[in-house]
């Protein structure tokens, strides 16, 4: 909220003023009200490894994170550029592999990657789009610049919180919206539906869309149900679908019904026991054959994991230059590839200052934050690194920007990141803003909800 000179940044002025004027008691009351409402609506998530699949609320912070529109416009350009390049990359590596032939990215980085699906070679997708929905995680450095932390091109989640947080803020603090023009985000489901329909097999005139969920025990089930309901489409589980003559149908009470476009929230490996993991109970036998035959679209496509792998990430700026002949608008965080002995040596030497992540990891599991780790944890991680260096990448610990946040003692600065959702159909679209996640522990840099992070409403203001 403050610039380097200590002054409140102008776009945050109205909120700072409101914070100063509003009695703490009233704000505390509003927070309790928010908790109650979230519980009643059932906006919960399941935590893995928790007994009995307990349902919990993600802590919601009532102080919004504010981004000036001029800043957002620049971000949006950078996000669209990045999503375009990543989709071009995916199309290329499953077709002519020009980027490998040009020597921009080593062949083993792509072809040996666990996210690379050989079955996708030569399949043409509508509009050449692989990642229809991309969640691109950004952090704002204390130097005022935004950096891309990671790309999520498989099944990025959290967008339901973006929408529900806004609804909650408008309900709790309508007066705040009178002081500033906050750009709306509520039309996201309509945009998503349009994107899914745009990606459907071209010869279907009025495509039937469905959301495919692993079921109610999945941590993001609330979101799957929410999006299906908001789009007005069926929420299906694997056993609700079957494939006949390379066509996918739903089992309904009035007989079978054809499905053309599936927004799937199931990993590649579990989609179809005939094509991928044979033990999958979540998938639909024959789905992939229908997909190959062009009778079905999947969002996101199979095989996008190769592009959001953390060891592929360092190549994204080069992809932008290679496919778009443009300079990247958004910067990457400098990244060391531990499978490179030189990089590994550097990481081991500076481990206490670095953040180390698993290349295929997500959700904040299995990572090390050097400055926050105990000497014992550092020693243990050193062993892991040496045993399987190719499994890790490392980045310097960034000095992230903070946002005022309610904590036990009152309002205090906490680190935040930002995940905008980029939709690629016939064109690239996004709603202004995204999901702001906040690390509620003092000094912590880990914002994942599974690791005690919370969320905030994100305001892009005129």
């Amino acid at each position: 909220m403050r610039a380097a000179n200590g002054k409140v940044r102008p776009h945050f002025g109205p909120i700072a003023e409101w914070l100063a004027k509003t009695p703490a008691k009233r704000v505390a009351e509003k927070r309790r009200e928010a908790d109650l409402l979230f519980h009643r609506v059932g906006i919960t998530f399941a935590v893995y490894g928790d007994e009995a699949g307990a349902e919990r609320l993600i802590p919601f912070d009532t102080i919004p994170r504010v981004i000036p529109k001029t800043e957002w416009d620049e971000l949006a350009k950078g996000l669209a550029q990045r999503a375009n390049a990543l989709n071009r990359f995916l199309e290329d590596i499953y077709h002519g592999q020009a980027i490998i032939k040009a020597g921009v990215i080593p062949p083993e980085q792509v072809l040996k990657n666990p996210g690379y699906q050989k079955e996708m070679r030569g399949i043409d997708l509508p509009n050449g789009i692989y990642s229809s929905i991309a969640g691109i995680d950004l952090v704002r450095h204390s130097d005022g610049k935004y950096y891309v932390l990671e790309d999520n091109l498989r099944t990025p989640s959290g967008v339901s919180y973006m929408i529900e947080n806004r609804k909650m803020m408008m309900r709790l603090f309508p007066e705040l919206f009178e002081r500033q023009t906050v750009l709306p985000v509520e039309h996201y489901p309509a945009m998503l539906l349009e994107t899914l329909r745009a990606g459907a097999p071209p010869r279907v005139r009025d495509p039937m869309v469905a959301v495919l969920t692993p079921g109610q025990h999945n941590s993001a089930y609330f979101e799957h149900a929410f999006l299906a309901q908001q789009m007005g489409v069926e929420l299906v589980e694997g056993p609700d679908l079957f494939v006949k003559d390379n066509t996918v149908y739903m089992r309904t009470t009035s007989g079978r019904q054809r499905v053309d476009a599936i927004y799937r929230r199931i990993d590649d490996a579990y989609l179809d026991p005939k094509a991928f993991r044979k033990d999958s109970m979540l998938g639909v036998p024959g789905l992939f054959a229908a997909y190959r035959a062009g009778n079905l679209s999947l969002a996101n496509a199979v095989g996008t994991g190769v592009a959001d792998d953390k060891s592929t990430y360092p190549f994204v700026p080069e992809m932008i230059r290679f496919y778009l002949k443009e300079e990247p608008i958004l910067a990457n965080v400098p990244t060391w590839q531990c499978r490179d002995p030189k990089d590994l040596a550097h990481v081991l030497e500076n481990l206490a200052e670095m953040v180390v992540k698993e290349v295929q990891g997500s959700g904040g599991y299995g990572m090390l934050v050097g400055p926050a780790a105990t000497p014992k944890e550092l020693t243990a991680f050193r062993k892991l690194l040496k045993a399987n260096p190719a499994n890790y990448i490392a980045q310097p610990t960034l000095s992230l920007s903070t946002c005022p946040t309610f904590v036990q003692r009152g309002v205090a600065p906490r680190h935040v990141d930002l995940r905008p959702y980029v939709l690629s159909g016939k064109e690239v679209k996004m709603v202004p803003g995204g999901l702001t996640r906040v690390a509620l522990k003092e000094g912590s840099l880990v914002v994942n909800s599974s690791q005690g992070g919370g969320t905030k409403d994100t305001w892009v203001v005129e």
């Binding site: 009643r40 059932g42 149900a225 929410f226 056993p239 309904t252 009470t253 009035s254």
Partner: protein, 312 residues
């Protein structure tokens, strides 16, 4: 509507109705065991096991035939799939799986019921407290049905909920009436003594129709009239005829034409109930008649499952 979703809604409604019926049966049993000789008390005690077809399961656990043991088994046993405890748990689980296709009030009713059920202790189900518990279960079921009727859009979810409710209720009414056969063979003229009067009265009360009987017939309690009321009387909402009126109506509202077998059977049962004569039923044997009804309903349940809900 997705078959899986319809299946959940249908079973959610059946399980809630089943919990209510179990509470009714246990409520009346707790009263019945207070009357009569040692032998009739024992017979009455075993009636709930006969009605719910769970005698074999009960005695395989070598439990003594006491009221306490029975209430443990039929109200609280998590291992018994038709106990009140299990029914409320399953109804809530089914609702949870389709909470986006039912109204939030329906979900909240079943969720709150289950949360309270988990707090019930064995010690709470003795004497007068047991009656309070059975009344509570009935009230929660009334509430759920009322909330459903008052909030849900008239569409497939509503239709499958009604179907589940009334098929379950019809099955239960038939079984409750049939149990008198096991207790005492009915004969057309037999009025029975004071004891028998209590038993028939209790039976009527278990299906909330003692006052209705008095109002409609203004007469002593005759078994044949009790049977008339519970089988053929369409004005009595727990009678077989009334239940099947609802079942056939719900089925007519369902979309699709691929389920002739189920619709035909529901229609046949309803027509039979509409045109039956109670004297003829008694001449052919009440027990035989009810056994056939129960078998038909079982067959109908199977056909509904196959036509609409998937076999899973």
């Amino acid at each position: 509507m997705l078959s899986r979703v319809a299946d959940r809604i249908y079973w959610m409604s059946r399980q809630m109705e089943r919990a209510e019926n179990m509470a009714r049966i246990l409520g009346v049993t707790s009263t019945m065991v207070l009357f009569g000789t040692k032998e009739t008390r024992e017979q009455n005690l075993l009636a709930p096991l006969t009605i719910t077809d769970s005698g074999e399961r009960y005695f395989s656990q070598k439990k003594p035939a006491t009221l306490r043991g029975l209430v443990d088994f039929l109200a609280l046993d998590p291992e018994n799939p038709s106990s009140i405890y299990s029914c409320l748990r399953l109804a809530r689980e089914n609702a949870h799986a389709v909470r986006w296709q039912i109204t939030s009030e329906m979900w909240e009713t079943l969720n709150a019921t289950w949360i309270e059920m988990k707090r019930v202790r064995r010690a709470d189900l003795v004497g007068a407290a047991a009656t309070d518990f059975f009344d509570w279960v009935k009230e929660r079921s009334h509430l759920f049905r009322g909330v459903t009727y008052g909030t849900i859009v008239r569409g497939e979810a509503f239709n499958f909920s009604r179907l589940g409710t009334f098929l379950e209720r019809a099955d239960n009414t038939a079984r409750i009436l049939d149990v008198k056969y096991h207790v005492r063979l009915p004969s057309v003229e037999d009025v029975g003594g004071a004891l028998d009067h209590y038993q028939w009265t209790a039976l009527l009360r278990s299906v909330s129709s003692f006052e209705t009987y008095r109002a409609l017939y203004r007469d002593q309690i005759y078994p044949i009239k009790v049977a008339q009321l519970l089988i053929l009387e369409r004005r009595m909402p727990r009678s077989l005829a009334a239940c099947f009126e609802q079942v056939t109506q719900a089925m007519e509202r369902l979309q699709g034409q691929h389920d002739r077998a189920a619709r035909r059977l529901a229609g046949e049962i309803f027509v039979r109930l509409t045109h039956a004569d109670i004297e003829e039923i008694f001449q052919g044997g009440l027990h035989e008649y009810l056994t056939e009804c129960i078998a038909d309903m079982h067959e109908l349940g199977g056909r509904i499952q196959k036509a609409y809900l998937g076999t899973a």
